[in-house]
């Protein structure tokens, strides 16, 4: 194979794949069998970070960017006049092996434009994974895209070689999907998700009886939603996310601020800024759902259809629920500690351990790593000093904003209100 040609294909097909933001390589345990190559010990590794600050963990490429669909938000849609390329199965296998051997990557994330048919495309993706596992004895991480509309049989086979499978829902609302991806049917996205979910459940229950049952998609499945392309509210986005977490037992839902890649009257204009702050707030909300015991209806509802951009969603929630505070750090149960602004789960664990030995005061909390600039208004501890003034939530928010700095603050400085 010609080196220059491979380099060109790599350029085109990595460039086209980069809008798929998942790069996780965690959650799968796969031992190195018979002195082969690679393993996954459950902990992902980010081998590098691009200049946009995103993790590079997997070789993320499309098999091809030829596509029969014409989804408005997608850079590889058929009406877009761009360079097209396609990798051969063996080329992807060789690149993956060689990059892996040099410790560049944790594995492969293979997606594809849809050529000929869904099944035809899915078949090729499965062929790459199968070859890596069976012929090359490769035990690194493999993430395959589930092609919307692919048959259940192919999805079942895919899960035998891949660690993770994902299908991107992309547009959080059905009306948005109809507007921007008229050739795709909502059911086509759901079908492979359902097949994978059933595969996982089936193999897990068989494994309980027969230990040697092969692994099926051990890192589960994930999906991605574009935000800011169709005027949807944060509530639309997060209620959809909560639905997919529950209904299809998703490991992750990713949120991708829409990056204008095309001039289309249905979409934000080219050059519009990527909604990075909004994306950040959605991820914070996602974490509150998965690790902090929040129900989505507490954070977003009819009165509050969008997240507060000024402050993080937990602080925003706490400011609306002042009657629950202040909490005593030395007595409050774990579930409640997790709800205090400025205290993350790591601090929660540390506090619970440390308070068995002595009562904790402000100094202890600062050293443990609590963000006191926010937390101090919501807690009491082993000290006679705490916030005793009756402050309105609005005033409190102003005080916290004045005494803190946020990474997005310079872009949104004008939104701040001044308080005396």
């Amino acid at each position: 194979m010609s080196f220059e040609r491979i380099k060109e294909k790599l350029d085109i097909l990595a460039d086209a794949a980069k809008y798929d933001i998942s790069c996780s390589s965690s959650g799968s345990k796969r031992a190195n069998k018979n002195k082969g190559l690679g393993n996954s010990d459950g902990v992902g590794i980010c081998h590098s970070y691009t200049e946009d600050g995103r993790c590079v963990s997997l070789l993320k490429i499309l098999l091809t960017n030829h596509c029969i669909f014409d989804c408005a938000y997608c850079v590889t849609r058929k009406s877009n006049d761009i360079k097209r390329a396609a990798f051969k199965v063996q080329e992807v296998v060789d690149l993956t092996m060689n990059f892996y051997r040099r410790n560049y990557i944790e594995g492969l994330f293979l997606s594809s434009g849809i050529f000929k048919s869904a099944d035809h495309t899915m078949e090729r993706l499965v062929a790459v994974a199968k070859k890596l596992r069976l012929e090359e004895n490769f035990n690194g991480y493999i993430h395959l895209k589930s092609i919307p509309g692919a048959s259940d049989e192919l999805m079942l086979e895919a899960g035998l070689y891949a660690d993770r499978l994902s299908v991107n829902i992309e547009i959080p609302t059905i009306s948005g999907l109809k507007l921007l991806a008229p050739d795709k049917k909502y059911e086509d996205f759901i079908k492979p998700m359902q097949a994978v979910k059933e595969g996982i459940t089936q193999y897990q229950s068989e494994r309980k009886i027969i230990k040697s049952t092969p692994k099926y998609a051990p890192a589960g499945q994930s999906t991605q939603m574009i935000v800011g392309a169709t005027g949807e509210t944060d509530r639309d986005v997060m209620y959809s996310a909560a639905y997919y977490y529950k209904k299809y037992e998703m490991k992750r839902v990713y949120y991708s601020g829409y990056i204008p890649v095309v001039d289309d009257s249905r979409l934000p204009a080219l050059g519009s800024p990527v909604p990075l702050l909004r994306e950040n707030r959605l991820y914070q909300t996602d974490w509150l759902l998965r690790f902090y015991g929040f129900d989505i209806r507490e954070l977003l509802n009819e009165q509050h259809p969008n997240l507060d951009l000024d402050v993080d969603p937990k602080l925003s929630w706490a400011l609306r629920n002042r009657d629950l505070f202040p909490l005593d750090i030395n007595r409050a149960e774990k579930r409640l500690l997790a709800r205090i602004p400025g205290i993350g789960m790591k601090s929660v664990h540390k506090i619970i351990q440390a308070r068995r030995f002595r009562k904790l005061n402000w100094e202890h909390l600062a050293k443990i790593g609590v963000a006191l600039n926010r937390a101090k208004y919501f807690i009491t501890c082993d000290s006679s000093h705490w916030e005793k003034r009756e402050l309105s939530s609005e005033r409190l928010k102003g005080m916290i904003l004045q005494n803190s700095s946020g990474k997005f603050r310079k872009d949104h400085g004008t939104q701040l209100m001044l308080f005396s």
């Binding site: 190195n32 081998h47 990056i259």
Partner: protein, 260 residues
């Protein structure tokens, strides 16, 4: 009360544990522990040389096993590998706490000694993880995947199991230029080695003499990938540098040629 003592040891973990043994056995009041090649002369007291004794070291290890869970012992060893100035004395204080406190717990974060060791081991563990990520092998003409690094802490012993189980079907060397020793896996087992290469590894002539043309091409493919997978409209150099601190750039294939 016994007079203050200063101890000097050979820098090995067993040597340090021998210091611990001696401190308990002779009921010393230790005010400083130095490695032999890093002795700070004190006007009032001469450092007392401690000769590494594997038996004494293993007795300390055994005793620690009865009082400290595996997580705690891991914190102890990780913190030792930080090589931070004064870490030995802090570890000695920690071990004294372990033996002298009823129901000692590594979770007593209100105690500054315990919190400090927990935080130090966390720092070392981050560096270990970074090295598992940032090592970049290049295939030499004699079929060995070679990488050199200069970690902030002495993490080579910690990353050994990871690389051994992952790259089981290829020969590889990871060399620590700062500490002048490396790991060599020969398809059967991994050994510690030392090489005389420190000054030459960055020279172009030296590189082209040990690496083949196809190796330079793979490097270029990786650099191409790194460039193509970046989204320009999301540029965030502050975050980039936070994740990949500049001091590591010269060892990273994707960063080096861009900034040489």
């Amino acid at each position: 009360m016994k007079k203050d003592s200063i101890l000097a040891y050979d820098g090995s973990f067993e040597g340090f544990l021998t210091c611990v043994f001696q401190t308990f056995e002779q009921k010393l009041n230790v005010t400083a522990i130095y490695t032999e090649d890093n002795i700070q002369q004190d006007f009032f007291s001469l450092p007392e040389p401690v000769i590494t004794d594997l038996k004494k070291a293993s007795r300390v290890k055994q005793a620690l096993k009865t009082k400290l869970d595996s997580g705690g012992r891991r914190q102890l060893y990780f913190s030792f590998l930080s090589e931070l100035p004064g870490i030995e004395l802090q570890l000695l204080q920690y071990i004294q706490l372990v033996f002298n406190t009823n129901n000692f717990s590594t979770g007593d974060y209100g105690n500054p000694v315990i919190l400090r060791i927990s935080q130090t081991s966390k720092m070392v563990s981050r560096e270990k993880h970074r090295m598992e990520a940032f090592v970049r092998f290049m295939l030499t003409k004699d079929e060995i995947y070679f990488a050199h690094i200069e970690p902030d802490f002495n993490v080579l012993p910690l990353i050994l199991p990871h690389f051994e189980s992952r790259y089981a079907d290829q020969k590889w060397i990871i060399y620590d230029l700062k500490r002048k020793f490396g790991l060599f896996y020969n398809l059967q087992e991994t050994n510690y080695i030392s090489l005389d290469i420190a000054t030459r590894v960055f020279e172009k002539n030296y590189q082209s003499s040990i690496y083949s043309v196809s190796e330079i091409q793979f490097k270029e493919l990786w650099q191409q990938y790194f460039k193509s997978t970046n989204i320009k409209s999301r540029k965030n150099l502050k975050l980039h540098k936070q994740h990949v601190p500049k001091r590591y750039w010269k060892y990273l294939t994707e960063k080096s040629s861009l900034h040489n």
